[in-house]
Symmetry: C3
């Protein structure tokens, strides 16, 4: 049996918003330590990895490992029906083909039960090794999102080039070209506004802007984003969820 309580519903909504344009149906794997999800997008170009530790929940009870296949759009529709201040309980019984969302208004005068049919989805959790990237850029997530959006006004791909001093995002297309240089600056008043570069080796790699823009849907989850790059490895774009987990996107350079 699985039972989860959340005092407020906004974290779960944000997590879902961050991945539901990326993947339609996915298995959530629950174990004693938390909830995780791995899924490729439908074109098998990129991989999303979600981890929500048990600490993210007010109550987290998972008697044995369980995989719960869900349509993320339907799940999102149901979560939309919860009020912003509603307490949320999620329940799934072993052997049942449904999951239940219970929303309770603060005064408890309105209680909503949403039962969603589960899906059978083939998937297994891959062990993803810790990768040794050549360049790691940590920067404000809103700025990264803005850059990806701006560049997609001009072109279809972004070249990310990292040196010890700065990271440059550039694109080129018929109508012209653009390059945006962000200087390293660790000495800022608020740490989340810093742009920090760790570099073993300069890199310059090209990526699809459409996918980068999909990744940035996770922006509301975190003030900062970490972009890890190496020529021979998939790039990792990571949004940390406070101390409670992360959403990571993996994509090969093109």
């Amino acid at each position: 049996m699985l039972e989860l309580h959340l005092v407020q519903n906004s974290l779960l909504k944000k997590v879902l918003e961050s991945i539901k344009d990326f993947v339609t149906d996915a298995n959530f794997h629950y174990s004693a330590t938390g909830c995780s999800l791995q899924a490729m997008d439908s074109s098998h170009v990129a991989l999303v990895v979600l981890l929500l530790r048990a600490e993210a929940f007010e109550l987290y009870r998972c008697d044995r490992n369980i995989s719960v296949g869900m349509n993320l759009n339907n799940m999102s529709k149901m979560l939309e029906c919860a009020g912003n201040d509603d307490a949320i309980r999620i329940k799934a019984d072993d052997g049942n083909d449904t999951i239940t969302f219970v929303f309770e208004s603060p005064t408890q005068r309105k209680v909503s039960n949403f039962e969603m049919r589960l899906m059978d989805i083939d998937s297994e959790l891959l062990g993803i090794p810790d990768l040794e990237h050549h360049a790691i850029v940590k920067m404000p997530s809103v700025e990264f999102a803005r850059i990806c959006k701006d560049l997609s006004n001009i072109g279809d791909t972004v070249i990310i080039s990292v040196t010890r001093e700065d990271v440059t995002f550039s694109t080129i297309d018929d109508i012209g070209s653009a390059n945006i240089v962000c200087s390293q600056n660790a000495a800022v008043a608020k740490p989340e506004e810093a742009t920090v570069i760790e570099l073993n080796e300069p890199v310059s790699l090209t990526f699809s802007l459409r996918y980068m823009n999909l990744f940035t849907k996770a922006t509301p989850l975190s003030n900062t984003v970490t972009i890890s790059l190496a020529s021979e490895l998939p790039a990792v774009v990571e949004y940390k969820i406070a101390e409670m987990g992360h959403v990571r996107f993996y994509m090969d350079p093109s």
Copy 2:
């Protein structure tokens, strides 16, 4: 001759917004006591009844009973041209095939005359008997609107079940099911936030959510909505307009 004055235009706009998605062309009947309208939607599934007493107007002059057939979309377009603080005068002369809307800005430096062609529409006012319903639920209109909208994310129909303690709205469809329970609670600080149930006999009836969502367009007219139910009778969904009238929707259970 008909002449009506309104100090502000927002009431009339709200009334029109509440019915113009429901019915396209309709007769407004004016008599000495006020203005009324009865109309079925185009599929003849539900009936809307509007009453605006003479007191709703700053000046109300109606020399003899008159029926004024109007296209509600065109009327709405014209009212949209009035500023929020404009004084409104409405005039129709006997035998004329037009109605005139005059909007005057507070400083009177801008005066707008809109003349709308009237329509010949067959209709008569039916006497609607007072119905004896088994269950009458009075609840916040915003909450009812939210529930109808939320449930239509999941299914096409809503089952409304009323007991002495609570009213339950539920739906079921391929993707799952939902039920939302609102407990009776008369003891609230603000009377308009109460959920009050009058019950002779428990009922459980099914209705089209599409229509319920059309009815809830009247939500801005009133803080509360009253839903009257009985197995053999059409349901009545009523929005009172202060002491000045009401908009009521009638629909058979399916």
Copy 3:
């Protein structure tokens, strides 16, 4: 060589927004005194004339007269990539087929270079004589925009009639008719709220509302609009840009 600096980007954005729905590709002519543009819309019904004096820029350097052909949508896309507080530099070198926009964030930690390919566009600056109109109406630009929008709910053309006392905007169509009378009123607290009429001869002229609504895209540039009318001349709808220039639209009565 051409080099322009702007402390803030909003003026340029507003200028571009005011004309980019009117004309797609256009030549900007730069001379020692400033920047100008003349263009017909694609149906050759109306003419837009833009003038931005050198004083509109923090730095204005133009070594010799130069014409720069640009796609206004692409230019707009690039300017959208500048932050609201970014300083803007615009550079074009003689003989180059590109123009460069440089956006610098206030802290200079983010510097963006956008290079746009130029276009070869046939055009010459016409000398437009000062026209002697019979009636000149100066009124709040927002009010004029609202009137054009409201009337286009009812009809396709607007008749503008000016007397010594007032200006009347009217339209007529199948669904009815409308006329909006604005009285002259010079004695207002804020000069930009005045409606002032200069009249040699009463006029009553008909214009396309679609075009009038295109002209009113320039509303954000100025609190007031000046409409100059004469039976034998094109009307001029002018938005002054502080002391720094203007956007003028010319259109024949229909």
